[in-house]
């Protein structure tokens, strides 16, 4: 196809390039064995990522991944793997969706939330690595962001309650955390985040 045809895509050239030539694929036939792995999303929700890491001297020396999902899900996981390679665990743990999206030259607004999950899968892999070796996990708390300031509710707390099936409805979340019972400013944000977490964890 001509360049002008491709230029009309909703995705940037970098997204396109990573989509067509994804880096660091976890090829099933290579028998590559990671030190730890993490998974997020589900086939039912339309996006699922699995990330494997090998850690040497506290750094990610090798990383491989698999993704079921749309072009931006594939490209963003590919870009995440490029960013994470060689990083210390602390640096890798702090990769954000915004960093991945920026490196890709941007993504359409509606793609940002549902498809950039590679960072989450990577964090799950690091958690898995530390846990399986009985090492302390100093990173988990440091990346938590407060969404409800009045009650000190963080994104991580919400995600954990969703994953553990403790908060199945927004009312249950309210009872457990007390979010939105102070100034009430956070209600929309918490509700949106809660729905997102339910979606990506297939709850």
């Amino acid at each position: 196809m001509s360049d002008s045809f491709l230029a009309d895509w909703v995705y940037t050239d970098t997204v396109k390039e990573h989509f067509m030539n994804p880096r660091n694929i976890w090829k099933k036939y290579e028998n590559w064995t990671p030190d730890a792995s993490g998974e997020v999303g589900s086939l039912a929700c339309g996006d699922q990522m699995r990330v494997g890491i090998i850690v040497k001297d506290d750094r990610i020396s090798d990383i491989r991944w698999l993704t079921y999902g749309c072009a931006s899900a594939i490209a963003s996981t590919s870009m995440m793997s490029e960013l994470a390679k060689g990083m210390t665990l602390a640096e890798a743990y702090n990769i954000t969706p915004a960093m991945i999206t920026d490196a890709l030259g941007g993504l359409p607004e509606h793609k940002f939330h549902c498809s950039v999950l590679g960072d989450k899968a990577l964090r799950a892999a690091i958690d898995n690595y530390l846990e399986s070796r009985n090492l302390p996990n100093p990173y988990k708390k440091s990346v938590a962001k407060i969404i409800c300031e009045c009650k000190g509710v963080t994104d991580q707390m919400i995600e954990e309650l969703v994953v553990a099936d403790k908060a199945k409805t927004i009312d249950e979340l309210k009872q457990l955390t007390g979010f939105g019972t102070g100034c009430g400013k956070c209600v929309n944000k918490v509700t949106q985040y809660f729905e997102e977490m339910k979606h990506i964890h297939n709850k």
């Binding site: 994804p22 086939l43 039912a44 929700c45 339309g46 996006d47 698999l66 079921y68 931006s72």
Partner: protein, 385 residues
């Protein structure tokens, strides 16, 4: 060698060369307002009436039963607005439709419910066919309108409109069908099916975009939806889009002339594509009813490969198709049509619709069969499963 294959004819079609010519001619020469009394106006009006006649011959009704609209969405909205009005006048209490209609009905239903109107949606079976038994159960003398699409835009599944119309009338309800996808592909007859209303759009059968038809039976209730002028005997206001209407008429004539050949040719290409896919790609699911299906439509799910990714990789190779995946629309839910037919969510995310049309060739099909298998293989290799 770069090649382009347009296989998204259920989304829209290219205007037939004959239509393009007619539209261009009318656009430049017959620019008068068809409502004007002078010669310029009368010339334009003649083109509009010529088109009305062609449409009436295509869908088997009287010319005066044809109202020109901006397309099937407006026609559908008009019909549901008539039903609402009848309910508000106490002529009944309910509308009955299905779970697989076009968004211009699905969303209208949601809106009407908000306004306090009762609407029941009949479920479909695993092949996407309306369960006649369920329809019989749901029917009653309080139903004012039954609306069921003729052929589905995603799966191509065709409904028994004649039989459903008979059931509707047995309960004293009016019968509407959205025949947008069926026109020009299968025989559609207002007379044979004893319809009260029918909607369609020109651009689905090689006519211009932005113009369509609402058929309403002579004695069926009518209420104007777009107010403001005496056009169409006050049924639909707005200056006549003469060129587009004339183009619609030419498209209707072409559709009627070649319908049998068109049907057989599309079906042969569709079957060549289906058998080719099933043979060359392991683990695929063909969606919809294979026995009662629009001839050019093929909807296939590829487990472990996601629809938007498939669509874009095909796009890279110059092939245009559609997907029922949520990712392509920006919503979180995949195709409601496929889900309504009981399809697994994952399979809906991995669905691709190929829709063939008049300008496709066997070579197009063979090119798709060459490009598609490695695309699916590649996506499955990088998939979590």
């Amino acid at each position: 060698m770069s090649r382009t294959v347009y296989m998204d004819n259920n989304a829209t079609t290219m205007m037939a060369p004959e239509v393009q010519k007619a539209v261009a001619q009318a656009q430049s020469v017959t620019y008068g307002n068809a409502s004007s009394m002078h010669s310029f106006g009368r010339e334009a009006a003649a083109l509009v009436e010529d088109a009305r006649k062609s449409v009436s011959q295509l869908i088997e009704c009287r010319p005066e039963e044809v109202t020109f609209t901006s397309g099937a969405s407006e026609s559908n909205n008009t019909v549901f607005s008539i039903a609402r009005s009848l309910i508000e006048k106490g002529r009944g209490k309910r509308i009955v439709t299905t779970t697989i209609e076009h968004p211009s009905i699905i969303e209208t239903v949601k809106y009407l419910r908000k306004c306090g109107i009762n609407v029941d949606q009949v479920p479909v079976d695993g092949e996407g066919r309306v369960r006649i038994g369920e329809l019989e159960k749901i029917m009653g003398n309080d139903v004012v309108l039954v609306s069921v699409m003729t052929g589905n835009n995603e799966t191509g599944t065709i409904q028994e409109i004649g039989q459903i119309s008979e059931i509707a009338h047995r309960y004293g309800a009016l019968m509407h069908t959205d025949a947008t996808q069926a026109i020009g592909k299968i025989e559609v007859s207002c007379k044979q099916w004893n319809l009260d209303y029918l909607s369609c759009s020109a651009h689905k059968f090689y006519g211009p975009k932005g113009v369509g038809v609402l058929y309403s039976k002579k004695d069926a209730p009518f209420e104007t939806y777009v107010h403001g002028g005496e056009q169409e005997h006050g049924r639909r206001a707005g200056t006549y889009n003469t060129a587009a209407i004339y183009g619609l008429g030419v498209a209707a004539r072409l559709a009627k002339e070649g319908i049998k050949e068109e049907h057989d040719r599309l079906w042969a290409m569709r079957e060549r594509l289906r058998t080719g896919i099933v043979k060359s790609i392991p683990d695929v699911v063909v969606n919809g009813c294979q026995e009662h299906c629009l001839p050019g439509t093929l909807d296939v799910s590829f487990p472990s490969a996601e629809g938007e990714s498939i669509l874009l990789m095909l796009d890279m190779a110059g092939i245009a198709v559609s997907t029922g995946s949520a990712c392509a629309t920006g919503s979180l839910e995949p195709s409601y049509v496929l889900l309504a037919g009981g399809l697994d969510v994952e399979l809906a995310h991995g669905s691709i619709r190929f829709s063939l049309g008049r300008f496709n060739t066997e070579e197009d099909v063979d090119y798709v069969l060459e490009v598609l298998p490695p695309v699916i293989k590649k996506l499955r290799e990088i998939s979590t499963r």
